[in-house]
C-alpha cells in the first residue's frame, strides 16, 4: 500500500502540491484526475524521487520514500512511466526494454529473461520491431515500449503518467485495457494519472480529484464518475 500524507512539493514559490493525502490500495487501480496544472505529474514525480518533497510523508510497504533517489526507489518495486512516451529514441526497442532490467540482471538473470519475454507477448508489435530504433516507432508503440521498460523491473506499483497523451482513441483503449488486465491478473497496484477522466474512471477502482495541488475529492471511481457537480466544477464538462 502506498500512503501519502500532507505532501507538499514546491517549484520555487509555486506550491505544485499543497498538502496532498490519499492511499493507493494494493492490487487496485487508483486514478488521479484533474485539469492541467493541478499537480498530477508532480505527484508522480515526487513519489518516484524525481522531485524533492518540501514536507509530508510518502510510505510504501511501511518504508518512507522521502529523500530517496529515483534509482533507489525503483529498487523498492515502484516503476514510473513519465509523461510523453518516455523512451530513449536513439536506442533500439530491445535496448530500451533491457535498460529497465539492468539493475537486477546479475542477481535475477533468468527472471529478467522471462520478464522480457512476457512484455514481448504482451505487446507483440514490439517483438517484431525489437531491432529498430525507438525513435522510429509510432506514438502508441512508444507508449507500449515505455510501459514495457517499467514492467521488466517487476514492479508492485506502477505509476503511469498520461498514457493517452496524443494517442488515437483505439490505441488508448488497448493500452488502458492491458494495464487493467495486468492489475487484475497479477495484483499490480496502479496509480494512473489522466487528463482524460472518462477513460481513466472507466477502469479505475478509486478516483482522486486534484485541483491546484489539493485533493478535492477521493471517492470510489464509480461515485466520482456519477458526480456531475464535481465534474462540472473541476473538469469542465
Amino acid at each position: 500500500m502506498l500512503k501519502i500524507e500532507n505532501l507538499v512539493t514546491e517549484y520555487g514559490a509555486v506550491k505544485a502540491l499543497d498538502g496532498v493525502s490519499f492511499t493507493a490500495v494494493q492490487g487496485k487501480i487508483t486514478t488521479v484526475i484533474g485539469a492541467n496544472g493541478a499537480g498530477k505529474s508532480t505527484l508522480l514525480r515526487t513519489i518516484s524521487g524525481l522531485e524533492r518533497a518540501k514536507s509530508g510523508t510518502i510510505s510504501w510497504a511501511d518504508n518512507s520514500l522521502i529523500g530517496k533517489a529515483p534509482e533507489s526507489i525503483v529498487r523498492t518495486g515502484i516503476a514510473h512511466v513519465p509523461e510523453g512516451h518516455a523512451v530513449i529514441s536513439q536506442l533500439t526497442v530491445a535496448e530500451n526494454i533491457e535498460m529497465g532490467a539492468l539493475f537486477r540482471r546479475r542477481k535475477h538473470r533468468t527472471d529478467v529473461k522471462q520478464a522480457i519475454e512476457e512484455v514481448y507477448e504482451l505487446f507483440p508489435r514490439l517483438a517484431e520491431r525489437n531491432k529498430q530504433l525507438a525513435g522510429s516507432l509510432s506514438g502508441g508503440e512508444r507508449q507500449m515500449l515505455a510501459i514495457s521498460r517499467a514492467l521488466v523491473s517487476r514492479p508492485q506499483l506502477l505509476l503511469l503518467d498520461e498514457p493517452s497523451l496524443g494517442l488515437a482513441p483505439l490505441v488508448v483503449e488497448q493500452i488502458i485495457q492491458t494495464v487493467n488486465d495486468l492489475c487484475r491478473k497479477s495484483g499490480l497496484t496502479v496509480l494512473l494519472v489522466e487528463q482524460n477522466a472518462n477513460t481513466a474512471l472507466a477502469v479505475a477502482d478509486y478516483g482522486v480529484l486534484l485541483s491546484l495541488g489539493k485533493v478535492v475529492a477521493n471517492l470510489p471511481a464509480a461515485e466520482l464518475k456519477a458526480d456531475a457537480s464535481l465534474r462540472a466544477a473541476y473538469l469542465g464538462y
Partner: protein, 303 residues
C-alpha cells in the same frame, strides 16, 4: 609515391592519437556535459609518472600500464573531488543560473590543468625530457628497402584500433555500456530505470582519463615531455572533435583521423608553418557546411 605513402602513414598514426583525445573529450562531454580542459594535463601527469619509472629502470611495459592506471584514477578523481561537489552546490546563488552551471565546471577544469602543470613542474622540474618508444621509430626496413613508415607508426595505429574496437564492444554489447549510453542520452529515464547515473558519470571520467593517458604515452616520443607539451595536442584533439561532432563518439574518432591526415599532407606537400592555418580553414569549412560536425546530432543544446 613514397612521399604519398609516408604522408598517409604518418597522418594515420598521428590521427589515431587525435582520435583517442577526441574519444576522451566526447566521453566527458556526453557523460557530464563538461569540456574538460584538464584532460591532457592529466595525460601529461601520468606520462611523467611513466617517464620516471622508466628512468629508474622499470620496463617500458610496466610503466605503460602504470600510466594508464594513473590516468584512469586521475579521471575518476577529477569527478569525485571537483565535479561532483560542484554539481551538488546547485542551490547556491552562484550556480543558480543554467549558464553558470554550464560554465563553472569548465573553469574548474582550467584550474585543474593549471594545478597539474605547476605540480609537474615542481616535482619533475620544468625542462623538457625525451620519452622512449617500445619499438623502433626510425624508418622500418624490410629486405633492405626502407619503408615509408616506422614500426612505431604501426604500433600506434594498432594500439588505437584495438582500443577503439574494445570501446565499441563495451558500449554496444555490455550492460554497463548500455547504462552509459542511456545516462548520456536521457538521465531522467535512465534513473527511473534504476541506473546509478552518478557512478556512470564517474566511469565516463575514468575511461576518458585512460584514453587521454594512452594518447599522452603515444604522442610524447615525438614531442618531448614538459608540463606544457600536450596543450597543443588538446587543441588539435578538440578541433578534431568539433569537426567530427561533439556528441558523437564515431564522429570524434573520424575527425581525429581526418585532421591527422590533413596535417600530415600540409607537412609533406606544403610547409609545416602552414599547419595551423590549414587546421583553422578546415574547421571553418566544416562548420559552415555542417555546424553540428560530420556525425553530430542536429539537436541544439537546450540552455
Amino acid at each position: 609515391m613514397d612521399q604519398l605513402l609516408s604522408a598517409i602513414f604518418a597522418g594515420t598514426s598521428r590521427g589515431a592519437i587525435y582520435a583517442l583525445v577526441a574519444l576522451g573529450i566526447v566521453l566527458v562531454w556526453r557523460g557530464a556535459g563538461v569540456i574538460n580542459f584538464a584532460q591532457m594535463g592529466q595525460a601529461m601527469f601520468s606520462t611523467y609518472v611513466a617517464s620516471n619509472l622508466i628512468m629508474h629502470g622499470t620496463s617500458y611495459w610496466v610503466a605503460f600500464v602504470v600510466a594508464l592506471i594513473v590516468g584512469t584514477v586521475l579521471g575518476a578523481a577529477v569527478d569525485l573531488l571537483v565535479m561532483r561537489p560542484l554539481s551538488g552546490k546547485r542551490s547556491s546563488a552562484m550556480m543558480a543560473s543554467p549558464a553558470m552551471r554550464g560554465t563553472i565546471p569548465v573553469i574548474a577544469s582550467l584550474g585543474i590543468l593549471g594545478l597539474l602543470q605547476s605540480a609537474a613542474g615542481m616535482i619533475w622540474a620544468a625542462e623538457e625530457r625525451g620519452f622512449p618508444t617500445p619499438v623502433n621509430s626510425l624508418g622500418l626496413s624490410i629486405n633492405g628497402n626502407v619503408m615509408p613508415f616506422t614500426a612505431f607508426d604501426i604500433f600506434v595505429i594498432g594500439v588505437v584500433l584495438f582500443t577503439l574496437f574494445v570501446t565499441t564492444i563495451f558500449f554496444q554489447k555490455t550492460g554497463m555500456g548500455l547504462a552509459m549510453r542511456a545516462s548520456a542520452l536521457n538521465p531522467e529515464v535512465a534513473r527511473l530505470s534504476g541506473i546509478r547515473t552518478s557512478s556512470v558519470r564517474t566511469l565516463s571520467w575514468a575511461i576518458s582519463g585512460a584514453a587521454s593517458s594512452l594518447a599522452g604515452l603515444l604522442v610524447t616520443p615525438s614531442a618531448n615531455l614538459s608540463p606544457n607539451t600536450l596543450d597543443l595536442v588538446l587543441i588539435i584533439g578538440f578541433t578534431a572533435t568539433v569537426i567530427g561532432g561533439l556528441d558523437s563518439l564515431p564522429g570524434g574518432v573520424i575527425g581525429g583521423f581526418i585532421l591527422g591526415l590533413v596535417i600530415s599532407f600540409i607537412n609533406v606537400y606544403d610547409s609545416p608553418s602552414d599547419v595551423f592555418l590549414a587546421i583553422l580553414a578546415f574547421l571553418l569549412l566544416v562548420l559552415l557546411v555542417r555546424p553540428q560536425g560530420l556525425l553530430g546530432s542536429k539537436e541544439v543544446r537546450r540552455v
